[in-house]
Amino acid sequence: MVNNAVEVRDLHVVRGRHTVLEHLDLTIGGGVTGLLGPSGCGKSTLMRCLVGVQQVAGGTVTVFGEPAGSPALRARVGYVTQAVSVYNDLTVAENLRFFARVLAADHEAVDRAVESVDLRAYRDDVVGRLSGGQQSRASLAVALLGQPDLLVLDEPTVGLDPVLREDLWQLFHRLADTGVAVFVSSHVMDEAERCDRLLLMREGRILADGSPAEIKQGAGVGDVEEAFLAIVRKDAR
């Protein structure tokens, strides 16, 4: 039995002249874990490391006891990039059927995924003609196809209306309740309150780690945004 879905040890990533992740140590368990921080702080790079598509300068990333990106993990980890990574010239259903075949998922998986992201009315529309929010939901649906044990979601709720955002967060929690480890990044601080555990990231380092309540209490303030500011100021001193 592996307690932690993800274990990151001394992870170091350099891109060009910039150090993106600085000797990071981290574990991620069950529940919904939020990765919060400003744009450019290394969130996407960390997520790419978990999926095993990022070249790293040093350190290890272990997922369910295996090195990240190893063949045995590829069907167990669902990944949504920040860009909409589905085919623009296919319909929602055609996209999902294709990825379902790659993942060897059953036929109902397509219907379930469409249902989960509330795209029933658009399933036979070509993705390129959908709105930005609908496109990113189609991209999210692909990650739900294979019934993964770990979901890595890079800013999945950008540009969505509040009702839909609420629905998706409920979906993340429902998945987490069934045992899926959900790892979500966001730069919107008001989403922080919805996470079971929060990681605050800045310039490639994790500045704070705990439940939203713990983080607010630790910083002695009433909301996560203020807590983030207080922690950054303390760190700068």
């Binding site: 999926v51 590829r74 860009a83 085919y87 010239d89 296919l90 790659v102 692909v142």
Partner: protein, 245 residues
């Protein structure tokens, strides 16, 4: 490699092509129109020349068209993030490449059947060898074009650059393949260069088919083109990286 994922890729590429009606129409109709144009040009001036150029064109079109289509579509996969997503899934690199090769090979087969039907049926091109073998040559040529296109897409950052690889990689082969000057008449140095270019063998195969009913030399040429195509696919696979900076 896994047949399920390979066929899934091929099927998906064909659906994408079917949706893009304009591209599909151009893929199928343009070669016929261009061959007809060549026939028309030479019909009064030098009808015998068309018998030499016609077969060369049948070899060249699949290479050029598939080179362009493949380099642009794979570049699109790289830049849209779908390739990264697929490589994070249980998908072999060869599944991806061979899936593309199958889909474009099928399109090339249809394209060639149409072009051959026009050349032999309407324009009076004489064919000594079997018709089906000509289609085999065209499909292998198309796979060669796809393999070259896949390979160069790794070195292009934009679709603009990808298209520029055509004058760099394909046009020199086109000049030396025997279309303009028969290969035995080329200066020694150029002849030697022409001997190591895959398109020369593609054109040779077609010319053998139109002049002789013996198929031994055709199969040898097909083998050479197939080796180049396989090498292109292998190099293409080497440029597909699961981990990127």
């Amino acid at each position: 490699m896994n047949p399920r994922t390979t066929l899934a890729v091929a099927h998906r590429v064909l659906i994408q092509l079917r949706r893009d009606r304009r591209t599909l129409a151009m893929l199928l109709v343009l070669p016929c129109i261009l061959i007809t144009l060549m026939w028309w040009m030479y019909d009064d001036a030098n009808p015998l020349l068309f018998d030499r150029i016609g077969p060369a064109l049948l070899a060249i079109f699949p290479v050029i068209v598939m080179f362009l289509v493949t380099s642009v579509t794979t570049l699109r996969e790289r830049s849209s993030g779908t390739l990264e997503r697929l490589l994070a899934m249980p998908m072999g690199k060869l599944d991806f490449l061979v899936g593309y090769a199958i889909a474009f090979g099928l399109v090339a087969a249809v394209q060639s059947v149409l072009a051959v039907a026009v050349s032999v049926g309407l324009l009076g091109l004489d064919l000594a060898g079997p018709l089906w073998l000509l289609t085999v040559v065209a499909v292998v040529d198309a796979v060669l074009g796809s393999a070259l296109g896949l390979f160069v897409s790794a070195f292009a950052q934009t679709e603009f650059q990808a298209v520029q690889f055509m004058p760099a990689l394909v046009i020199p082969q086109l000049l030396l393949c025997g279309l303009l000057v028969p290969r035995p008449l080329l200066p020694d140095v150029l002849g030697a260069i022409s001997d190591v270019l895959p398109l020369s063998y593609a054109v040779d195969a077609m010319q053998h088919l139109t002049t002789s009913s013996a198929t031994g030399q055709v199969w040898r040429d097909i083998a050479v083109v197939a080796v180049f195509a396989a090498a292109g696919l292998a190099l293409g696979a080497a440029t597909l990286r699961r981990r990127t900076p």
